[in-house]
Symmetry: C2
Subunit: 411 residues, 2 copies
């Protein structure tokens, strides 16, 4: 059996997972490739005395780049630099790359894909979105008969864990955040998760893939879950909905409308029942109809499973480019103000007294009362453009306590 | 742009869907392939005067097999013959084949895959399981880092539609069957669906794929939904469960335990919420953990979407075999009697009076009472081997009204 030598850059959580997966399932993996996978180097600044990986540890990237035997490089360091430089140089040297690094893919994906194509090798990043859930490869090679009209996902396990706790246990934001931090689901600085930035990078990657053009995450409206309260959840329950942090990209003609925001979902929505740290991605194709992919969105082994699946694919296609590219030219996103939906609003005051002015402003609204909440009420607007909502909401600046978008299933 | 000529065999529901999908999304599809897809022939016994496809209609398979320009053949006729002969001859002539024909794949998959491999072309069958849901390709090329330990699916939309109606509306079997037939979800002869044969062929295909050896559907224990009653559903509700027709394959060491049977599921099970005509497939990998794939398991366009995705894949790999094979040598399945689970039993008589003898026979049972049912009661056994259950149940032949298996999520 021929041997394919690979290097793993980064021996943190995912990196050690990659080594473990190849150790555990190596025989089966080699059978699938038809050749033997060998981890020749593990790049890390640290040493790991006593760990069987110690003998493979190198501290200098030049060792990897200069070794012609290395055909595939796994990048699981995270962050933009030095990951970007190392990945780019690897591709330019004719080595395929598998990465779990969403920041890198969101920012430099177009360029790295194009280098891989020129070199007739591969830049693969299944693990960058949805952890262990196969979504990048299905979009690239399974949903190829379709025009993808919508991708909406629960793409961040930390916030989904927190919102699930808040919904089912009535706990408040600060309490569940502390709990999530205590059991390792949230980082000490939880900003990237709770502000929605992590989900935003992921939906940017998916949007680039389905549109074929670069979508910058900075251009996507992004709202996290930090403002979600115990009271919001009470209204959600009264309405028969739940609140989820959705990252969504919908096709409007040639444009995409992309947004990350907490949304109310009814039980009919396929993502309603996705609870705890799980992720799920809903896809609507113009001929396929609805499909959904569900699984562990993070975690050492699920993420490593996706990275190693990329390594297998790279090994089976050593001199053949298989990924769909996207152009570096930026896609013009649809203005958030032009998107239509219903809105839920929590308002100070008395519903009966305000009814006629609210109807005048918002149209046929539906009043919602939640148990035990006094001096406030909720209401749901008819479908309207977000820009029109903004105009109307301005007149009630002092009274509006919170607005949460409603995600009705289209069609 | 080069042209790749294809032939579609069969202009029924799926065949006309394939033509429609290529007509609708042709530009996008050609962009993905990098070449132009052209339907040169449509094979059917009938003529279709007035239909734009009429000019492509041929009645003789020899026209297709003798035309060297035809690189890919789509087989959507269904049934074993003449599909088997046509597909085999096509592959032997160096033409890749995409099929939606589960009967053909379940029976001759191993042989057809091996011919495709010899010829360095492809035999693809994404649409044969789960309609539009990508599952064959993800198993073949995404879940490659894993040892797949379980696949459990709701693989038949007709029976899931019927069970959903029975559960939510309290309707009886005969009524929902007539309704399903009236709106086209069930055929006039519903045997293949309601007896579980359709689901059984599909789980046989998935079992062959994950084990790498032929699994004959005739070897799989198969129980349909014809015995499910209004009373069963009442007990299911009392227990907080629902009843689904599950097709399942689980790894026990080197063996697989495969079964098709109606099972009770608790809300925690990922398949609990799959309702109506939708299909869903749950997969557990030893490193991935749990994943689930959900979508339209049948229907003209979703199925055609999967067939055309196979055509795209075949077109991108005209001279390169990409599918994992399975051996023609039959896999030894685990004896059904050795599988362990809990059982729900409906019994004639009085629970209090029978309690001590039932405890003696079955161990620590849990009694279930359903509203409005007199002269009978239900109980749940502890986990036991199915063979041991059979032995114990023999002594209560006269009293047992029905037994339904309970699908607890393992781990």
């Amino acid at each position: 059996m021929n041997v394919i030598n690979i290097a793993v850059m980064g021996y943190g959580t995912v990196g050690s997972g990659v080594v473990e997966v190849i150790r555990t399932n190596g025989a089966r993996i080699n059978q699938r490739i038809g050749e033997g996978l060998n981890i020749k180097y593990v790049l890390d600044l640290r040493d790991f005395p006593g760990d069987p990986v110690q003998e493979k540890i190198v501290h200098d990237f030049e060792t990897i780049i200069n070794d012609e035997e290395i055909k595939i490089v796994v990048e699981v360091m995270g962050g933009i630099e030095p990951a970007y430089t190392f990945v780019k140089r690897s591709l330019q040297a004719g080595k395929s790359v598998a990465t779990s690094n969403k920041a890198l893919v969101a920012k430099h994906g177009a360029e790295l894909l194009s280098i891989a194509k020129e070199q007739n090798i591969n830049f693969l990043f299944e693990a960058s979105v949805g952890g262990g859930i196969p979504i990048i490869r299905p979009l690239n090679s399974s949903l190829t008969a379709d025009e993808i009209e919508e991708i909406t996902g629960i793409l961040n396990g930390t916030t989904n864990y927190m919102l699930t706790k808040m919904f089912y246990e009535g706990a408040d934001y600060e309490t569940v955040l502390k709990e999530a931090q205590a059991n390792g689901y949230a980082e000490r600085n939880p900003e990237a998760d709770v502000e929605g930035y992590d989900a935003c990078r992921k939906i940017a990657i998916l949007s680039s893939l389905i549109s074929g053009q670069q979508v910058d995450f900075e251009d996507i409206y992004c709202e996290g879950i930090t403002a979600i309260t115990v009271e919001d959840m009470k209204y959600a329950k009264a309405m028969g909905t739940t609140i989820k942090l959705l990252a969504s990209s919908k096709r409007h003609g040639n444009r995409l409308y992309a947004i990350v925001a907490p949304c109310m979902l009814y039980p009919e929505h396929p993502l309603y029942n996705v609870n705890g740290v799980f992720n799920s991605i809903f896809v609507h194709g113009n001929v396929l109809g609805d499909a959904m992919f569900y699984g562990s969105g993070a975690g050492k082994l699920p993420t490593a499973s996706a990275v190693v699946a990329d390594v297998v694919d790279a090994a089976k296609h050593l001199n053949r480019n298989i990924m769909t590219m996207w152009d570096q030219e930026k896609l013009k996103l649809e203005d958030k103000a032009a998107a239509k939906r219903r809105f839920f609003i929590r308002m100070k005051g008395d519903a009966d007294k305000m009814m006629s002015e609210l109807k005048y402003s918002f149209g046929e609204i539906e009043i919602i009362h939640a148990e035990g909440l006094e001096g406030e009420f909720g209401f749901v607007t008819p479908v309207m453009m977000e820009g029109d909502y903004d105009t109307r909401a301005k007149g009630y600046k002092e009274q509006i306590l919170h607005m949460i978008r409603i995600e009705d299933q289209t069609e």
